[in-house]
């Protein structure tokens, strides 16, 4: 498999198939990152498109010496997610009443909670609900570490904070998430 850095070089030379390959490799990861952060599939789709559009436009600024392409893409995604978070903060404040009872809503929604939902889907939904309740700083640290599988150093590059801060955020985020999941009735393995 051709490395990402080589594909980027091919893209910059005008090779459309190299860009297609990059899109195919990273769409799922970026979409999941956006979905876990926003808790909305629709917003996640829009944000994923926005991320790739921005990456495509700024592809020339990527330097492989500074880190992996995946990490760079995650940084771009994170910046867009922060913009999106700030943009929608006002909407969320007005929707605070709706946020208070998301589980009731989802229980009656055939799309989110179908009768034949697998246990994995159920857990995924519970994790999503718990993630919504923790602060954005802790949430992004946990998502990057435990749902995206990034190393501490990579998270440090993406967040642009010292290593100690990364460890602290991951630690606090995990403890908070575990507490919330336990409250929801999720049993640890």
């Amino acid at each position: 498999m051709e490395p990402d850095a080589q594909l980027v070089q091919n893209c910059l030379r005008g090779d459309g198939s190299a860009w297609e390959e990059l899109v195919r490799r990273h769409t799922r990861r970026i979409y999941n990152l956006c979905w876990r952060f926003t808790s909305s599939r629709h917003e996640a789709e829009d944000l994923t498109q926005e991320v790739f559009l921005r990456v495509y436009k700024t592809l020339g600024s990527y330097r492989s010496a500074h880190g992996g392409f995946a990490t760079w893409m995650t940084s771009v995604t994170r910046n867009l997610l922060i913009d999106h978070y700030r943009r929608t903060r006002r909407d969320r404040l007005t929707d605070s009443l709706d946020d208070a009872m998301p589980r009731l809503e989802e229980k009656h929604s055939p799309v989110r909670r179908p009768d034949q939902a697998t246990l994995a889907n159920e857990l995924s939904g519970q994790v999503q609900n718990a993630l919504k309740k923790i602060s954005p700083d802790l949430r992004e640290a946990v998502i990057l570490r435990d749902l995206q599988g990034l190393e501490y150093a990579e998270i440090q590059d993406v967040l642009g904070v010292p290593e100690g801060t990364v460890k602290s955020r991951i630690n606090r985020g995990r403890i908070e998430l575990a507490r919330l999941l336990e409250q929801m009735g999720v049993r640890p393995e």
């Binding site: 005008g14 769409t27 979409y31 979905w35 599939r41 790739f52 559009l53 602290s168 640890p188 393995e189």
Partner: protein, 221 residues
């Protein structure tokens, strides 16, 4: 050295990610074993992480990749590379086409068997159009000649049978049923024997005719 609860909580993730050095790991576990609160916290977080790591990434919504490519490369963007060469294959790479191809293959195999084509003996020069034409014409003429001979033989047999049949199938004289109480005469009693002889001779002629059809060479002489 012993660790306190605060240290356990702050280093919990490093412990879970196996980033603690061996000695610190020992201190951590020693405290967690002895402290009910920290023990519960550690098992809760590590258990939750185990479940979290089992989660798979969500599937990408249908059409998302296509939309991204359209936004970036454009809907009618010229695709370069190997895919552009294989692009014409896309419309035929369907399940329907695959079924059709398999059907054609089976038909060719059946026809090959029927016409006695042995693919292992086929050489490249056999596929040269003039050679192919000659071989096909020869095969067709052979099939036609065999069919014509079969029809001719049938005709001969039929002719022999039709010549023999009137003699064998002469209509029997009309039977006059004797009146009740009347006995039959002596000449009337001979009729079944004559009929038997006629049947016997007809059977012999039929046998002769069939034998003749099996020996076409002698019949033509």
């Amino acid at each position: 050295m012993t660790w306190n609860c605060e240290q356990i909580e702050s280093r919990l993730s490093e412990y879970a990610d196996r980033l603690l050095p061996a000695d610190e790991r020992g201190y951590f576990e020693a405290h967690a074993r002895g402290c009910a609160r920290c023990g519960a916290l550690v098992s809760r977080v590590t258990g939750m992480l185990a479940r979290l790591h089992q989660l798979e990434l969500e599937a990408v919504p249908a059409g998302l990749e296509r939309r991204i490519l359209e936004q970036t490369l454009g809907p009618k963007a010229e695709r370069k590379g190997v895919r552009s060469w294989l692009g014409w294959l896309a419309p035929v790479m369907t399940q329907r086409f695959a079924y059709g191809a398999v059907t054609v293959l089976i038909t060719v195999m059946v026809l090959s068997q029927a016409f006695g084509v042995q693919w292992s003996q086929v050489e490249l020069r056999d596929l040269y159009p003039p050679n192919l034409y000659r071989a096909t014409t020869r095969k067709a003429n052979l099939v036609y000649a065999r069919g014509a001979k079969f029809v001719t033989d049938l005709r001969v047999v039929y002719e022999i049978q039709s010549r023999l049949r009137p003699e064998a199938e002469q209509p029997a004289p009309t039977e006059q049923k004797p009146a009740p109480g009347q006995s039959q005469g002596p000449e009337e009693k001979e009729q079944p024997r004559q009929q038997n002889r006629a049947n016997e001779s007809y059977g012999n002629y039929s046998l002769l005719a069939m034998t003749a059809s099996l020996m076409p060479g002698r019949m033509t002489q």
